[in-house]
Subunit: 506 residues, 2 copies
């Protein structure tokens, strides 16, 4: 019997993995084919719907339920990898079985419509266009929450999707620390570093040279181009079709060459995670990231903890100057300060390392109010704008640069934003541990990513989805999420930059 | 009962259409992603194999057989579209049920290996590397033929796959005429037109301007970019994922700008066929071409009968000269003669309109000898070279420019080549009919493709796979395949060019 069900598990995995391969391939095609035919969208959506339904139907089928039940009852005979698969299958089944297929299908349709309306609303700077869809999206999500688990805090159910084990209780504590510590520190630091010159970052640089540098940079930090590729799209993203087929995009600007450099570092961070899965996980559905937050910790590590590290830049600088002679006269110190200059800004995706999590905090507070029934959709722009004033001292000129700026809510992604801040915090906790074991700054300066990526692979990447995020972080750091390491890192880093900036001014 | 099975037919179609969408998407990705990761090939092949097997398993399943049987017996209650689907399902089932899955799977693996060996053999110019795989490919095909229908001429079974109803008997007659009429005529014509100047065709022209012209040209002849796109690849090809998602590629050369122009005309010809399917065929598996030969007739029509037509070029010429000022001093007459200059050449894909079918004849004769067991694989280069001498008067310098030049045999495509010549012949028969009803040259000169494409859509494109090629050609031309119209067209066209060339020389 055991053998029969294990065979069935393999067949189940094969089917779902292959369907997911197709889905990813279709998404990649839609997002990156520069001239995707407009009229092709309809049939493509039908194929996506068909494959998604096939996956759900397979999950909730009698055969699969029998298999899950048997393997759950007899889990003592299973290997750790098999056990973990059964746990995740149970979670997926519980979710899928509680939401009627019709409701889910309607919701998927709503999301597609809402996203196109959001595009229009943002373009026309008209929140009232989007508001009715926003209301309906929230309505559906509240319905799902009730169907799934009416007893816990509704926001916990949203968090569970991307960050299993995360709760409002933990997040409140996390953001309370950020609010208390980060807001005053950021304010003071921004003032002190106002004098940093960044003009040289906006020199005109031909795209061809920028493109050539992307491949070099990705390889430099350990992204394997035999197992992946780099392309262009409006908004950079990373997609791990499977560990040998990991793709990411970047976007080039003629007058902002570091934009693509930091996109490459960020997305390649995601990509290296996806590429370095343990081969023992092949053929299972455990390949991928432990959670959205842990995935983001890896992209943030490469983007900020490595990419905005002084020693990393010092090591890379000769090559950077060779490819970009436009910065030949700029010292590495000036460059380092330039790419680290903090600023109050309206737009999350343009925010710097110091202020980024404050943008997330604002969104978290708003989402919580929504799902605690404490606010109406029509009031949201007012709330948004008042919080922007409070945290950044900025007036929001219009809703396109305010509440309409992100696509997430239009895509039904509620409870997703916190993973960005968790990523920042996890990244710092993890790197503190790494520093105890290897001489990080030395390797970064030498551009030796072998030992760095080996460490990350052993501790995180190769484990795929074997552990829940909490357990993974504890296995590395001996403690759970701890915002203080993140805060202390920022304080220490920017204290040094202030010092550096004062020295030079003298 | 009928309703039940018709419902089942719809579900069957939906599944297979969606799987084919995924397969096409994957092929497109592999062929056109310029940096497709080498290590991603393995899993991608597995997904292709998985989907292909799912399609076959569905076709030969008990449920499907029951459905086919019921609908075949009760076909009087069916609409013409439903009837046709049942006929084609029967054909597909007969084929699939006679070849054991294991044998087919091994063969698919062999083809992949053989193609990579062929690449190496061609690069190294070493036929002996490829010969063992060539033998095995032939061995498998002979086995399949015996399993499928041991009673007819073995080559007929090969023809059936791409050109239902075509036989060695018919093809022999066709090529006999070509051999008798075309070889002497081509020889004499090539000599007479040797003086045509083509230097201006090889001027250096920046790729950017060539690329811009592709979109213009495709739209000019009626390819709808809302329902398709154009990209680049090493070897141009066209893929109809569905009528609203038709894609083709071209290849740009800095010193040969008409290469891409004629690729675009050719592939857009395939593409226009795919885009103009009747909406009544939606959701059925009848969307596509009536046969390989009929499909090729459309690409050849746009490439040669339109694209190398004097009036078409005259109409296009002002725009052509504006985008390519490099030919500002070249008269349209000189340009027309240049793109029509015939030559004896070693390579099929570089062959001109006059000599193209002779290259096919040579391959047809060799394929027939193979499947009539009249020749050994090791003797093939010698035979190839002697035929090249006989038909073109050329010495083959090496096998890479001889028997190893085409990928078809390495990909198991035996019996495929004739469709290229059939395409040429069908094209001429069809256009003769069109000329009786519309003033083709006038429309070509004005660049008015509306009436031209309307005629083609009504007579051919919208019918998809509703008719077998023979019946389709008969429905348009009131007769079957007739090589004389093709021969006469070539004689007439090149007689005029000789006249034109003499006038100018005087």
């Amino acid at each position: 019997m055991l053998l029969k069900y294990l065979k069935q598990l393999n067949a189940y995995n094969e089917k779902v993995i292959n369907y997911n391969y197709c889905l990813n391939n279709i998404y990649w095609d839609m997002e990156t084919e520069t001239a995707f035919p407009p009229k092709a969208v309809e049939k493509t959506s039908q194929v996506i719907e068909f494959l998604s339904k096939e996956i759900t139907n397979l999950l909730v089928s009698k055969d699969t339920i029998e298999m899950i039940d048997y393997l759950t009852e007899n889990n003592k005979s299973l290997t750790p990898i098999q056990k973990r698969q059964v746990i995740l299958l149970n979670r997926a089944y519980n979710r899928a079985s509680k939401i009627p297929v019709d409701l889910q299908t309607k919701y998927e349709g709503l999301k597609i419509k809402a996203q196109s309306v959001w595009v229009e609303a943002k373009e026309k700077n008209d929140y009232s266009l989007f508001a009715p869809y926003f209301k309906e999206l929230i309505f559906y999500n509240k319905k799902f929450i009730k169907l799934l688990e009416p007893k816990v805090h509704p926001y916990d159910i949203l968090l569970e999707q991307g960050e299993f084990g995360m709760t409002v209780e933990k997040l409140d504590k996390f953001f309370d620390v950020l609010k208390k510590e980060l807001i005053p520190f950021a304010k003071a630091t921004i003032e002190k570093l106002e004098s940093i010159n960044t003009d040289f970052l906006f020199k005109s640089i031909p795209l061809e040279r920028q493109k050539a540098f992307s491949n070099y940079l990705a390889r430099y930090i350990g992204f394997d181009l035999n197992k992946g590729l780099i392309k262009e799209s409006e908004h950079p993203f990373c997609m791990g079709i499977e560990p040998n087929n990991v793709r990411f995009t970047t976007h080039y600007y003629g007058n902002n060459f570091i934009s693509s450099i930091y996109s490459v570092l960020h997305e390649a961070g995601h990509g290296i995670y996806e590429q370095n899965q343990d081969s023992e996980l092949e053929g299972t559905m455990l390949q991928g990231g432990a959670s959205m937050g842990v995935h983001e910790s890896q992209s943030r590590t490469f983007e900020n903890l490595f990419g905005r590290n002084y020693y990393f830049l010092k090591g890379l600088y000769p090559n950077l100057q060779e490819i970009f002679p436009e910065i030949k006269e700029v010292s590495v110190e000036a460059f380092y300060k330039g790419v680290n200059k903090p600023e109050n800004s309206l737009i999350r995706i343009e925010a710097d390392e110091l202020t980024y999590s404050l943008h997330i905090m604002l969104r978290y507070e708003i989402e919580k109010m929504i799902f605690e029934d404490k606010i109406e959709v029509d009031e949201l722009p007012k709330i948004w704008n008042s919080k922007m004033k409070e945290y950044f001292g900025l007036d929001v000129p219009n809703d396109s640069k305010g509440i309409l700026q992100d696509v997430h809510w239009a895509g039904g992604m509620f409870g997703y934003f916190p993973s960005y801040s968790l990523g920042n915090a996890y990244a710092n906790q993890i790197i503190e541990e790494m520093k105890k074991e290897i001489k990080l700054d030395e390797f970064l300066e030498k551009g030796e990513f072998g030992p760095i990526n080996y460490w990350l692979r052993e501790k995180i990447h190769r484990k795929g989805m074997l552990l829940d995020p909490d357990d993974l972080i504890k296995s590395i750091c001996k403690e759970e999420l701890n915002p203080y390491l993140y805060i202390n890192y920022l304080k220490e880093k920017f204290r040094k930059i202030i010092e550096m900036n004062t020295d030079v001014s003298n």
